[in-house]
Amino acid sequence: MSGVAGGTRGGSALRGLRTWWTMLVICIEERLVYRGDFALGTLMRFLPIVTQIFLWTAVFSATSRTDIAGYSRNDIVAYYLLTMVTRAFSSMPGLAGGIARSIRDGSVKKFLVQPVDYVSFLLAARVAHKLVYYAVAIAPFALVFFLCRGYFPPPPDAATFAAFVVSLLLSFLLGFFMEAALGMIGFWFMEVSSIVFGYMLVQYLLSGHMFPIDLLAGVPTGLAGVSLADVVRWLPFEYTAYFPAAVWLGKVRGERLLWSLVIEAGWVVVMALACRAAWWRGTRRYSAFGG
């Protein structure tokens, strides 16, 4: 990816915009080249949900309950579909690894010299990527949601919908800053991949990717009255998959909803600061070594 141009203020804004547009167009073209790949790939991403639907149907059929931790069978299917949307916002494939790699092979140096902020640049690039992705993926997504509309409860009211949108945007930022901060560890450790792997493992379990976090409400933690679900609520992970989906389905309401949004925003700030701090200290350390 080419560097963003610097230059005079007015001109640079226009140039920046044009660079952005070019990046967008190139990304789209690149996607379309592997057209068979892409169309198939997007649809196939929904396939595991098919098995989940069958699995949960079987689970419900063998129990006399009508709901598990507040989710009916249809709720769970809707939940999985909604987490696909959340993850379309919050997943940052290759971000941490890419940062670590550019630190390792020295290509990050050009950002030390140019008047371009590395983190902002990465953020802009990700926004571009995401926009392209949404533009091209919206058709398969729409198709799947239309076919599965029977699983969804009535759509939420305006306030809940607004909260949903906010939580999605926050999840994008959260996902970005978390992985970026992870990548910055490359300034201190050579082998970031093991750390990234550990992160992905915890993410997988606690983000709600596999199951609604509410299912953990019955898991004790040893502390009186505190379930695992309560603990996870304070961690950033569930906001990258579970939270927006739960908001849409109305599983998180009122005061709890507001508090969760605050926690989510809080984590965004924390991670952004961590990123900033890591960049500042890391580059100081880095230029001391040359490399």
């Binding site: 073209e29 379309l32 080249v33 057209r35």
Partner: protein, 346 residues
Amino acid sequence: MHNIVPDAAAADPVIRVEGLAKEYRVFDKPEGLAASIRSLFHRTSRVVEALKGVDLTVGRGEFVALLGPNGAGKTTLLKLLSGIITPSRGTARVLGHVPWERADDFRRRFALVMGQRNQLWWDLPAAESFRLHQEIYRMEPARFERIRDELVDLLDVRRLILQPVRELSLGERMKLELVAALLHEPEVLFLDEPTIGLDVVAQHTIHEFLRTVQRQRRMTVVLTTHYMKDVVALCERVVVITRGQILYDGSLAEIVDRFTTHKIVTLDLDEAPDQRRIEAFGFPCEVRGPRVILRIERGRIADVLPQLLRAEGVRDVSVEDVPLEEIVAGLFRSDRRQAETVGAAR
């Protein structure tokens, strides 16, 4: 098109090719955004003729070069002869077999070495690859060891065979590939640009090696290259291929005879001459300080040379053929120009 079949080959050809052709369907790559979107629904394609009906006969023990620019079809021909791909039209027989049927009996009798493409198993040290080779080609241990030692010593690579192949340089790898290829004593050896990317010393070593081994074993060798150096060092017979067709098939010496009308006469004078005096002779010339280079028609050399020598201040003279590179490049150029005029005429 010129087709000269050497006498030896007529008796019992090792390779016989008739009307061999290979076409590919290639999808056009879309340019620009609109085209990219359109390509989702409909892709245009065209047919590329890599080989347009080629005839070739090679006899036992011959060392033949397939010479041509990139994309000429020489590698395609080699891949057809080694059975890697199947042709669109035509027939071929190598050692009596149809190559693309990939019979085990056939594959045991020839070897293929491709420059810059790795064939040794990447993770294994060469020594292991050799042993694998022994197993695959069913060689008796005693014979295998004797041949291996012979080849390894000939190329002086003994110290390399225990290292994993991926750690070696290109030249070292090439030598090991050659050893591996010749272990099972193939009757036919196909070489695809074997010296590409190698330094001069390595090229020379490999030339020496190939000459020695080919002579010793009376192997039939077909080598593709776009380096004249390889051809001059190794082969007597040259097959010039461009754009899927054979342009010339005959000895190296004949190329010079047939395709040149001039010779190059170089005069070294005592001092830099007057340009106009030289031009007065009426030949195309180049003056570089005290050196004058003239292109003189062959028929006229006998007359002109004494005149030149009698002119004062001539210290030294040499009469040479036009360099082969130039001849061949000229061949390619005229062939391309021919194609272009034909194309334009349509």
